[in-house]
């Protein structure tokens, strides 16, 4: 018996599907079940929904209409994109949030702090990681406050 779709699987697949359609590609609804299966596989392997969503989103954006969901998303492709994105451990949630910001200054600031986080992590600088996380939190607060104001 086929496994039942979980809520996170369905939500991620839905957002990626909408992103594919928004990019102008003609995406038949029949792609959707294959997309859910991919999401399920990678969630099982990586266990980080933000990472899965961001990597899938990048693949969808880069390949657009040329993306054959059932063929082109093997684990190697997933890993290649994951490494290219170079997001530090524990920062996928922030990275996913940043990638969806429309304000350039917010996006650029977030990229800066993610880079600082990565540098600090490589150098074993816990204080640096803590500060980067704090700044990202403040940036999120600032961004949502601005949105409310608008």
């Amino acid at each position: 018996m086929a496994a039942r779709r979980t809520k996170p699987e369905q939500e991620i697949a839905e957002r990626i599907y909408e992103e594919m359609r928004a990019s102008g590609a003609i995406v038949p609804r029949s792609v959707y079940p294959a997309l859910v299966r991919r999401v399920r596989d990678w969630l099982r392997d990586s266990g980080d929904p933000a990472m899965v969503e961001m990597v899938l989103s990048r693949i969808a954006r880069e390949l657009g209409a040329g993306w054959n969901v059932s063929e082109a998303t093997d684990p190697v492709a997933f890993d290649v994109v994951r490494r290219r994105l170079a997001v530090p451990d524990g920062a996928w949630g922030y990275a996913l949030w940043a990638s969806r910001r429309s304000r350039r200054d917010v996006r650029e600031s977030a990229e800066h702090w993610l880079g600082v986080w990565r540098d600090a992590q490589e150098a074993g600088d816990e204080e640096g990681v803590r500060r980067a996380r704090l700044m990202l939190d403040r940036l999120m607060d600032y961004d949502s406050a601005e949105e409310i104001e608008i």
């Binding site: 290649v80 490494r83 290219r84 994105l85 170079a86 200054d105 917010v106 996006r107 650029e108 600031s109 990229e111 800066h112 702090w113 880079g115 600082v116 990565r118 540098d119 490589e122 150098a123 704090l134 700044m135 990202l136 939190d137 403040r138 940036l139 607060d141 600032y142």
Partner: protein
């Protein structure tokens, strides 16, 4: 006495005889005397004996010891330890050079290009070993005082000791380019290593009046000069576009003024050299060009394109060591661009670590400084850099940003200011 008319036996005997104190022994070793310096077998044997005794006891043996051990009778009143020593070194170089040239004779007939490359390498090795520097630290203290005083004078006049990089983060810390050192700019393909290299050179040429030798294995000279016009023009107050220059759409009046001003400098000390059809330079060719042009800065746009018999890690290491030796000997800075490995390219906006340069650490190991360049995600007009190796000071592991407008020739550090309350960062 005309020294050059003396027989080899006489010169050698006088040199051996003058080695009577630890200081004269040190001078002989520092000058480059070795087992190959002797034509008389007995003298070679006496030299080996003297060196061995000096290493064992810290002083050379007496005349009677040498006589008893080797049968060579040294001259009693020989005290000039420099005139004959210089002559012996001169003759040794001559003999070794002639031997290498004769050995290359057969190869010259069958494969002249390879023979010439080998000769350049062999002959420069002879010149290098004869010119190696060493100095007795404590005995040279007063000479060092003079050097330090001259540095202090220059610093008091506001001059920089070394060649400025043009990046305030480095220059303000004193991490300038120093003569005798090698510097590597590493980064993924198309990140702008060549442009940054060209910009460093243009800065040194224009602001520190340095003589530049720019070697470009892949690009044409015209391509390099198109890019240089834009960068140098910017330093001189002009505003060109690289794409406009290439497409023939530049403001001709402005370009004419620039060309006239450049020509009016009457310097003739920027040399660009491509590799012709070969697409690569050999180490021998690079050294030969450096010897010919005597630059302050030798730039190699793509050290991974240095060729040899097989492009291996060992070959690159050997090439780097030879280049380093010549940087010191010719008192120049060598700056090379080097590609990073595929692993590093996976994260194109993260400046690569030291071991991710092509051929591993082979080239970077020999370098005093390694600047790692990366893209900045979402902004093609900016770059991220770090100083991942710095033999003269601390590494700079935190990310720094460059404005990087290749078309307009604008490259410069961006100041990062942070609003702690919101986390917003501005780059200007």
């Amino acid at each position: 006495m005309i020294v050059s008319s003396l027989s080899p036996e006489e010169v050698e005997l006088r040199v051996l005889s003058a080695i009577r104190t630890p200081a004269s022994m040190r001078r002989a070793l520092e000058a480059g005397l070795n087992d190959e310096s002797w034509q008389v077998d007995a003298h070679a044997e006496a030299w080996s004996y003297i060196v061995r005794r000096y290493r064992e006891s810290g002083a050379p043996p007496t005349r009677s010891d040498v006589l008893a051990a080797t049968g060579v009778e040294l001259i009693e009143d020989a005290s000039d330890d420099s005139t004959f020593l210089d002559e012996l070194i001169r003759r040794t170089i001559e003999r070794q050079a002639v031997r290498r040239i004769l050995e290359a004779d057969d190869l010259l007939r069958t494969d002249p290009r390879r023979a010439v490359e080998r000769l350049i390498g062999d002959l420069s090795e002879i010149a290098r070993s004869a010119s190696a520097h060493s100095r007795v630290y404590d005995a040279g203290a007063m000479d060092r005082l003079e050097l330090i005083e001259s540095r202090a004078d220059r610093a008091a006049r506001g001059e920089v000791i070394g060649i400025r990089t043009g990046l305030p983060t480095l220059d303000s810390r004193g991490y300038v380019f120093r003569r005798g050192e090698m510097v590597c700019i590493q980064g993924p393909m198309n990140v702008g290593k060549s442009t940054l290299l060209l910009w460093f050179c243009a800065h040194a040429y224009y602001h520190d009046r340095c003589r530049i030798l720019f070697l470009t294995p892949e690009s044409t000279i015209e391509d390099v000069e198109d890019r240089l016009d834009v960068i140098l023009g910017r330093f001189m107050g002009y505003s060109f576009s690289n794409s406009a220059l290439r497409r023939g759409l530049v403001d001709l009046d402005e370009y004419r003024r620039f060309a006239e001003e450049l020509s009016g400098l009457n310097r003739s000390d920027w040399i660009t050299r491509d590799s012709g059809d070969a697409g690569v330079f050999t180490v021998g060719e690079i050294i030969s060009l450096a010897r010919e042009h005597r630059p302050d800065v030798l730039a190699i746009d793509g050290v991974h394109l240095i060729s040899g018999e097989g492009r291996t890690w060992e070959r690159m290491k050997e090439a780097a060591e030879i280049l380093k030796g010549h940087a010191q000997h010719l008192d120049m800075v060598v700056i090379g661009g080097n590609q990073v490995q595929r692993d590093a390219v996976m994260a194109p906006d993260d400046p690569a670590a030291l071991g991710q340069g092509a051929y591993g650490l082979a080239f970077a190991e020999a370098c005093n400084k390694v600047i790692s360049l990366a893209e900045k995600r979402g902004d093609p007009l900016q770059r991220v850099w770090k100083l991942v190796k710095n033999r003269d000071g601390e590494r700079i592991e935190s990310r720094h940003y460059l404005r990087f407008d290749v078309d307009k020739g604008i490259i410069g550090e961006l100041n990062v200011s942070v609003d702690d309350a919101t986390g917003l960062v501005t780059f200007d």
